[in-house]
Symmetry: C2
Subunit: 108 residues, 2 copies
Amino acid sequence: MSTRVLQHPDAAEIRLEAVLHALADPMRLEVVCFLAAHGGEAGCAEIDLGVSKSTGTHHYRVLREAGVITQVYRGTAKINSLRRDDLDALFPGLLDSVVTAAARRVRV
Amino acid sequence: MSTRVLQHPDAAEIRLEAVLHALADPMRLEVVCFLAAHGGEAGCAEIDLGVSKSTGTHHYRVLREAGVITQVYRGTAKINSLRRDDLDALFPGLLDSVVTAAARRVRV
DNA sequence: CTCGTAGTACGATGATTGACGTACAAGCCG
DNA sequence: CGGCTTGTACGTCAATCATCGTACTACGAG
C-alpha cells in the first residue's frame, strides 16, 4: 500500500522501560552503538548483524517503536538515525553511559 | 541445608545486557528506585510490589544475579542493598540517569 | 517446643519474544 | 520492460519470562 512513511512515537511518548528493553538485547545494543559511533546514520544493510533479513527488520522495528531510532526511506534503502536529541532530553546521560559501557564491554 | 549465604556475581562479571534487562522490568525498576531513594537498604517486605511472594523472590533474584543488588540475611529478614559502587565503576552515570529518568517518568 | 513471620524451591502456565523462511512491494538500472 | 536490491508482511516455532500456588526451611518470640 505504498505507505513508505514510518510511524515513530512522539518524543513525549517514549517510555523508559521500552528504551531499556530495546537496549537490553545485544543485537539492538550493537545497532545503537554503531549508530552512535557513525554520526547516527546508517542503512540497514550497513550493519551486519549476522541474522536473516526478517530478524533484522524485527529488531529495527523494536528500536523504532521504542523511540530509539528514526527510519527514513531514501530510494530503496532505509536510513536509520539515532534519536539522540530526544533521548538526551528525556533521559539525560542515559544514552552516553550505555554506549560507553557497551564499548568497554566489547573490549573486555 | 542452611545455606543462608547468597551468591552474587563478582563486579567483573556484571554484564551490561543483564543489568539493562533487569532494569527493563517496571517492577524491578521500582525496586531500584526505592533503594536509590532510601540510601540503598530495605527489606523485601518493605517494598510492596503488589505481587505474590514467589514473584517477588523471582524479581529480587534477577536483580541480584544481574549484579544490581546485594542481599544479606538479618535474622529472618533479607536486606537488599544497591551495588552502587560497582555499578558506578563499571557503567559510570548509568544508574543515576536511569533513576532520574524513572523518577521523572512517575511524575508524568 | 510451638507458632508466626519471612522467604525459598519447585513446578505449571500463559504471554511475550527472537529467529526464521517464504512470498511480496518499492525503487533503481540496464 | 525485466531483473536486481532492499526491505516488509505474515505465519510459525522454540525459548524465555512473569506470575502464581503450594509445600518447605530458617529464625525469633512466647
